[in-house]
Symmetry: C2
Subunit: 337 residues, 2 copies
């Protein structure tokens, strides 16, 4: 690997994305990207003993799907990396506990997907692991209870709110076959613009995405139009508009290259999706199910995914603290074959 600047890693051996497994909830399966997901839930509502168990099951199913598609068994995995939004990462740790993987739990809220893929790329690139599983889960009802109100309360939401995605996405990264490579990663820093309203994640996270994307472009010497697609994690429509303003202030117009996983996953006319999707699985479902497929089938040749995380907790909201945010970026490229 090569270190570019303070916080960008370029992977010389070009670790491959060997397979992905995506499990999407009912609303996500009914959305514009529904056809791209491996497993589409047809039922809404609790399936197991609790919402938390449901999320653990999503995580497990995404692992099983990714391993099956790569024709690997759990023992072939040297380490599993990932996380979720539940306190103490119980989606990840409880969801995977029967596989006996060596595990590294990671947390940067909805930026955990790119944090996982950055480290997966590094571990494979330097030979610390031959095969890595990496990804995230989220669940609408575990997140509502965790960060806002239990869904049973029927609390009303403003239009700046976002809908937490129900689903899980896992990727197998290794040195085998496959034409999608992890080329670079940029580790983000915490950015706090003092926003305190937990219905305005998009506004809190847009500056973090902007800073990480600019840091990445600086470190690599690339320009926006060197990419076929730059996708943020889950800014939603409002955060996305703010990010465009931040680019405009620098004289940049990313045009159609810039999109957002939270805007792609739902159609605006779907009920109760508000400003778009959010949640740790928003960027993993959209990236693993859709964006990487566009590379795989040859529509695109290079994309940047900058997942974005709002670093609040129930306690920090109750204690009236602001919402720091972070964004980690990963560049995926298509290779011939």
């Amino acid at each position: 690997m090569k270190k570019l600047g303070r916080q960008t890693w370029q992977f010389d051996t070009e670790p491959r994305v060997l397979s992905t497994g995506t499990v999407a909830g009912k609303v996500e399966s009914e959305g514009p990207l529904g056809q791209w997901f491996d497993v589409r839930l047809v039922q809404d509502g609790m399936q197991d003993a609790s919402w938390e168990r449901d999320e653990q099951n999503l995580m497990r199913q995404a692992v099983e799907t990714a391993l099956a598609k790569a024709k690997l068994s759990p023992n072939d995995v040297d380490v599993a990396l990932g996380g979720d939004l539940n306190a103490q990462l119980t989606g990840f740790y409880f969801g995977l506990r029967d596989f006996n993987f060596p595990e590294l739990g990671l947390y940067s809220a909805c930026s955990t997907m790119t944090q996982s893929m950055a480290l997966a790329g590094l571990l494979v690139d330097v030979g610390a692991a031959h095969t890595v599983l990496a990804g995230t889960s989220s669940h609408n009802s575990t997140a509502e209870r965790q960060f806002r109100f239990p869904t049973e309360y029927g609390a009303q939401k403003p239009e700046t709110a976002q809908r937490t995605v129900t689903g899980a996405g896992m990727a197998v990264v290794g040195a085998g076959a496959g034409n999608v490579v992890i080329r670079e990663a940029t580790i983000g820093e915490v950015v706090d613009f003092g926003i305190k309203n937990p219905w305005e994640y998009g506004a809190a996270m847009a500056p973090a995405a902007f800073r990480t994307i600019m840091t990445h472009l600086d470190a690599t010497g690339r320009k926006i139009d060197d990419f076929d697609c730059i996708a943020t994690g889950d800014l939603g429509r409002i955060g996305h508009a703010i990010l465009r303003d931040l680019f405009a202030q620098q004289g940049e117009d990313p045009g159609n290259i810039l999109t957002d996983c939270g805007m792609l996953i739902y159609a605006p006319e779907q009920p109760e999706v508000f400003s778009g999707g959010s949640g740790a699985a928003c960027s993993s479902l959209v990236t693993f199910g859709y964006l990487l497929e566009k590379l795989r089938i040859g529509t695109w040749s290079r994309i940047l995914v900058a997942a974005t995380g709002a670093l609040l907790s129930t306690f920090t909201s109750q204690q009236k603290d602001s919402i720091p945010a972070i964004s980690h970026a990963v560049v995926f490229e298509r290779r011939g074959g």
Copy 2:
């Protein structure tokens, strides 16, 4: 770096521990290791607006201490790694938000210290970072509220309980001067023996520590008496006795080589320390403040620290689920000079 077996990393360039910063609470400062800590709090009780703010302050102070001792400024740090027990890692992310470090939040409960040091060693060894900050915090009152009952309830505890350590420990890892190196790391897997009582972390975690230590010895070909000290994270007296039984079942007697940070940090006669210390800062305070100093001054030449994490959350306890556990191990060695 060299990969040994499935999950052990050996660091060829031998990353150095350049400095450490330890901030200990009042009870910890009054304990048998009190003299070894850099900052010793003389007051108990809330210092800032909340227990959570207090913990963030501990984390910040540990960073400032570690940087000052290494004569570095925040801009010299390429990435900060760490975590804490608070939901969504607010001790780490809020505690460090003013430093502008690129950051990777990690979580494996009280095993987060060795998870952080394993990744710190890797990042420096492979050139992904020149200088890394790594460590953890915990706070007795944030943990009581998070995992059990707010301290104001005055809930009584059984003797199997452990006292969550108040404190923070951070280490600067890099390629500069210093005679303590990170030689190897072994990434643990989740072990679940079905224990459901949240007052018995030690019993839940002992099998995870045992498995990781045995995995490490297998991968490296070392024996127990190749180490001057093998310290688990926070099993406490009861978990420690169980770990000795597990060794005995394999015909092994680690004798005085085996110890536990949770046993070292408090004297049994201190009030309300029960079976010993726990918390993400237990192993970071004891390791950074005491164990690494024994290497530095030449008393020892090789130690293994296997911090141990109980992977429960408030919800998983309330939902009557068991307590999976994990342990990551790091080997530190003394080099001449």
